[in-house]
């Protein structure tokens, strides 16, 4: 019993660290409707500014703290509101989630460019002495922990008071629930929204400053790890209750200490259970915690039904123009293949091959996001499952590598289907969080197992020989990857045109209405998940062949974030979009660095900024640009061909009958 009490008490300061992050997440969700994965980036930015002014420029603690928490962070919040989230007020929570993902990818890169190459050691906290020790009986806390415990308690009390007894607190919540109703009541929704973002950003800034002294050297990874661990506490609070977030964080801290205390430290159980705790808790909470299950995401009674997504770019052109673009497109593809096989050096051939491989992986996001309307944050994990299965079958069993790759796809599909079954009841951000929890559990529990993750040295994967074609020849392998991409693209198009695709379209519009006409949502979603996971697994196997090895570090959860950001910032709904995303992901960093002399970090900044636009342009920034440019060229084309200006007809009004009726078919035909 004495040990139990000891571990419980030791868990409280740890829990307050989780609570600090969880309270921030809940605050942002409550006041802006955004599940803010960018919290880690905001906290990292605040910590970096605090380091700069306090350590580099030797400002005293209090001015540095005030500057960061009460000036820089609220200013960042104001900018985010003014230029990003204000425009997303009516967007779906998932659109807002993707925008925050974009910030998570972009902001740290900007900070790293600013900080430069030097390490950032020696950040001290805001307590007058970080290293002072405070004894409470047998227990001791230091200044850093005291600062967090005191801050969390004060912040929770203030926030509870703010939301319970002040008009601005009520207004901030009202704006989230229904900005239009709020404005009808005479409240300036913009001002309330700005206040909410400034407040939540100040909270992220406070967290950054309080947590910075826990890092030997500032590193966004530390903030990201803490963020994903603390999501469970936010889920415990149903993303709405600040006191519950505090309680959730403390309970999580206590549970962690109890596991550490009671499981033998060297045991397999400790190695598997303890690291997985926050993610397993999150997964279970999402599935079983009342209030999260079947939670309505749209609370705005004036929101009504979501408008249909804008038509695809290809739908705004005439049949003649479509034929022209097909010819041009074919010529372009032929040109690329010619360049790859005849003119490109080994480097560009390798890049083009990699583009094909990532295009296959990104097609999995086309299925789950473009067709299914869901954001999965574990597509990199599925690719990893495919790669590791391929590698282990080849190295351990001596299997044929093509067989290994196909088996990898099947295993990934099976895992996807199994994952889909419990998470079917979830939707929107809750489903996304469940996929994130799965990715983290896979990474922390299964990958460390040698026969799964491969141990210290990555498992080598050979290239196959197919009849007379030895794919260790890079040109042959390029053709092989092209073939796989074509097959998978055709498969995706078939599915999209087929029953499952139409079911998914219907489910996106209204699940209830779809059920009323006999569509089984469970079956359709499981198929979408399994197909998507299988494609990612196939791509993972292909990637392992390309690189010659399968290393789980290439498929970590952060890659899952980046994959989503890249695809949604280009175009998530089309095969062409996945290929564009593959090209952007692989080629853009080199184009920026080789041709423009910029750091390749800028590519990720651009992807992040592109993803921010997701809620405004769910079809993708490139797709949006393409629609506009196609419309422009269509007008020019019409002028040249002596037709009347089709732009006056709007939309796809000038398309052929079949294209108008089925715009999806038009793009698929590309």
């Amino acid at each position: 019993m004495q040990d139990f009490i000891r571990y419980v008490i030791l868990g409280i300061p740890v829990g307050c660290v989780f609570a600090l992050v969880a309270v921030s997440l809940v605050l942002t969700f409550k006041t802006s409707g955004v599940f803010n994965l960018a919290f880690a980036a905001q906290a990292y930015l605040a910590a970096a500014v605090y380091y700069d002014v306090h350590v580099r420029h030797e400002w005293p603690i209090i001015p540095a703290f005030v500057f960061v928490v009460f000036v820089v962070s609220p200013l960042l919040g104001f900018i985010l509101d003014r230029f990003v989230f204000r425009w997303l007020r009516g967007a779906s929570p998932i659109g807002k989630l993707v925008s925050s993902l974009g910030l998570l990818v972009a902001v740290p890169q900007i900070v790293q460019i600013w900080l430069g190459k030097s390490q950032t050691f020696g950040v001290t906290g805001i307590w007058w002495d970080d290293n002072a020790l405070y004894h409470f009986g047998d227990y001791t806390v230091d200044g850093r922990q005291m600062a967090i415990v005191v801050s969390v308690v004060v912040v929770v009390l203030l926030l509870v008071a703010l939301f319970r007894w002040t008009a601005i607190g009520l207004q901030m919540r009202a704006v989230v629930e229904s900005p239009r109703l709020t404005e009808l009541a005479g409240v300036n929704a913009d001002r309330a929204s700005s206040a909410a973002w400034m407040l939540s950003s100040a909270m992220a800034g406070l967290a950054g400053v309080l947590l910075a002294p826990f890092s030997a050297s500032l590193n966004v990874g530390d903030f990201s790890v803490l963020l994903v661990s603390a999501i469970a506490a936010a889920a415990f609070a149903r993303l709405t209750s600040i006191p519950m977030a505090l309680l959730g964080g403390i309970l999580l801290g206590i549970a962690q200490q109890l596991l550490k205390g009671y499981l033998p430290p060297a045991s397999v159980a400790a190695q598997g259970l303890k690291p997985a705790l926050p993610f397993a808790v999150l997964f279970l909470l999402l599935l079983f915690w009342p209030g999260l299950r079947n939670r309505r995401e749209a609370l705005d009674p004036l929101a009504g039904a979501d408008p249909p997504p804008p038509s695809l770019a290809s739908a705004v052109r005439s049949a003649a123009f479509t034929r022209s673009t097909h010819i041009l497109g074919s010529l372009f593809v032929g040109f690329v293949v010619y360049m790859a096989l005849v003119r490109a050096d080994t480097f560009w051939l390798s890049l083009l091959t990699l583009t094909l491989v990532y295009s296959v992986i990104f097609l999995s996001i086309t299925v789950i996001t473009g067709m299914g309307g869901q954001i999965s944050l574990c597509q990199a994990t599925f690719a990893g499952i495919g790669a590791l299965t391929t590698a282990q079958l080849v190295s351990a069993l001596g299997a044929n590598v093509i067989f290994g790759m196909l088996a990898g796809a099947v295993v990934a599909a099976a895992v996807g289907a199994l994952l889909a079954i419990p998470v079917l009841r979830l939707a929107g951000i809750y489903l996304s969080l469940a996929t994130l929890a799965f990715a983290l559990m896979f990474e922390n529990v299964l990958v460390p197992i040698g026969w799964i993750g491969g141990g210290v040295s990555p498992v080598r994967v050979p290239r196959p020989v197919i009849g007379p074609f030895d794919l260790s020849n890079n040109k042959s392998f390029f053709v092989f990857c092209l073939l796989i991409l074509v097959i998978v693209s055709i498969l995706v198009i078939f599915v999209r045109r087929g029953t499952t695709g139409h079911y998914l379209d219907a489910l996106r519009g209204s699940e209830t209405a779809a059920q009323s006409i006999g569509i089984n949502p469970a079956k359709a979603k499981v198929i979408a998940f399994a197909l998507s996971a299988g494609i990612a697994g196939l791509g993972g196997g292909l990637l392992s062949m390309k690189t010659g090895l399968a290393d789980p570090r290439m498929f970590g959860y952060f890659f899952g974030f980046v994959f989503v950001v890249v695809v949604v910032s280009t175009a998530a709904r089309t095969v062409e979009g996945a290929i564009n995303a593959g090209m952007a992901f692989v080629l853009l960093p080199y184009i920026l660095s080789e041709w423009l002399g910029l750091s390749s970090s800028w590519a990720f900044i651009l992807f992040g900024l592109g993803a921010i636009q997701y809620a405004r342009h769910p079809e993708g920034t490139l797709e949006n640009g393409k629609r506009q440019s196609l419309a422009f060229f269509q007008r020019q084309f019409d002028k040249l061909s002596g037709r009347r200006d089709r732009s006056s007809e709007g939309g796809s009004g000038g398309s052929t009958a079949s294209q108008s009726a089925h715009p999806v078919a038009a793009v698929e035909s590309t």
């Binding site: 571990y7 598997g272 290239r463 030895d470």
Partner: protein, 424 residues
């Protein structure tokens, strides 16, 4: 739809049946290169320059601030070029590539195809040296900071700090250090990640083979990013641990040190990544008395070996920071230079590699312990040498050393631990 799907799968299955695996794991195509007007006809060599390029984690999203490795290389090249270069050619670092989001393999391919380099120098990648096989296949002389197991077994890859890295292997150094310090009870902490956990296993096996102390506490269940070690420290304290060996990063080591102080635990740490003056100075009261193993001559070595004197001079001259990463860049560059010198005026990549692999006592002017490259590429060496420093009031003080001989050497994996070490 279903029929079409089955048809596609059937075709794929037939393709799978018709296949076998290639023995090779990547292409062996060669890169183009410019020939010179001299006797040397090698990629990346002109009549007045030898082109070199490197890949380093600079702005990796997962944090790998190793850019100063390039500074070390540039400073060394400055020194060589100030003396007229080598064979009337300047050494030129033409490419400083960033290992961004695990793009190591593509960057390596770019070095060879785009930058047309003669040698690759430096490599310093935070996670994965996935371009290792490409470089090995193409016989490219490659030099870098070896923190990745991919160097092992490749005769063209030369680590500035170690030849071959085996985290999980039995080693004699740590048990010997425990013996010298009079420590009897060992605590080992690692993350639940493959390399970290393997390192912990290696420590455990080492003390089992050379039982100078008992491993009484071992955990491999820490999460990367853990900042709380209260339970672990409490358990180690209960078990009387007096020497803590970790396989964790500096953030973990710092938080562990703070918790040890909080709980008044009477033990010191062996810091695997702690040779950084800024880190130690910023946290001096927590690392007081801790031991750091250093694979090169520490900056505090007295008298400083010639290599260290030159390093200090040329780094200061260029205004670069002197740290663990930049000195590894310097050593990498020095190894390339030594290989070129040994290969002779009509040098080739193969001759550089062959010469270096014939060296049995490479020291880079006293900067590294004597390295026998006839065996160094494999994980069992003749001797295991490490320099040690102790943290004292925020500074590093050489320990277990002799004047002018910073490295304490032991046979690698002897049957029993010798009673005395030798010094080099």
């Amino acid at each position: 739809m279903r029929v079409r799907l089955i048809a596609v799968l059937a075709v794929l299955s037939l393709v799978a049946l018709a296949c076998s695996n290639s023995d090779k794991t990547s292409s062996t195509s060669t890169t183009g290169g410019s020939s010179s007007g001299t006797a040397v006809d090698q990629p990346g060599v002109t009549k007045d320059t030898i082109r070199v390029g490197g890949v380093v984690s600079k702005t990796n999203a997962l944090n790998g601030p190793y850019a100063s490795a390039f500074d070390g290389v540039k400073a060394y090249f400055d020194m060589v070029n100030s003396q007229g270069g080598i064979y009337n050619r300047k050494l030129e670092l033409v490419a400083e590539r960033d290992d961004q989001m695990a793009s190591n393999q593509q960057e390596v391919e770019a070095l060879l195809a785009q930058d047309n380099v003669f040698a690759v120098d430096p490599i310093a990648t935070i996670f994965l040296f996935s371009g290792a096989q490409t470089l090995a296949d193409q016989n490219i002389p490659t030099f870098g900071w070896n923190i990745n197991t991919e160097y092992t077994g490749h005769p063209t890859l030369f680590g500035s700090n170690y030849g071959a890295l085996c985290l999980g292997c039995v080693g004699s150094q740590q048990p010997f250090v425990a013996k010298l310090l009079g420590k009897k009870k060992i605590g080992v902490l690692a993350y639940n990640q493959a390399s970290s956990a393997d390192c912990a296993d290696g420590i455990k096996k080492s003390f089992e083979k050379y039982p100078t102390a008992d491993v009484v506490f071992l955990t491999k269940s820490l999460n990367f990013g853990d900042t709380d070690f209260s339970v672990e420290v409490g358990q180690m304290k209960d078990k009387g641990v007096d020497f803590v060996l970790t396989c964790i990063d500096n953030t973990g080591a710092l938080n562990l040190a703070k918790e040890m102080r909080k709980q008044n635990m009477n033990a010191i740490q062996y810091l695997p990544n702690g040779y950084d003056q800024q880190l130690i100075a910023a946290n001096k009261e927590f690392f007081q008395g801790d031991i750091v193993g250093v694979p090169f001559a520490p900056f505090q070595t007295k008298p400083a070996p010639k290599g260290l004197v030159e390093f200090n001079k040329w780094m200061d001259k260029a205004g670069y920071a002197r740290n663990e990463i930049s000195i590894n860049g310097w050593i990498s560059a020095a190894m390339l230079y030594e290989g070129l010198k040994g290969a002779g005026p009509s040098f080739t990549r193969q001759k550089v590699v062959d010469y270096l692999n014939s060296l049995t006592n490479q020291t880079v002017e006293g900067l590294i312990p004597p390295r026998n490259w006839t065996k160094e590429h494999e994980i069992t060496h003749n001797t295991a040498c490490t320099a040690y420093v102790k943290v004292d009031n925020g500074k590093f003080v050489p320990t277990f050393t002799q004047p002018g001989k910073p490295f304490m050497c032991l046979p690698d994996q002897p049957a029993t631990l010798p009673s005395k070490a030798t010094f080099q």
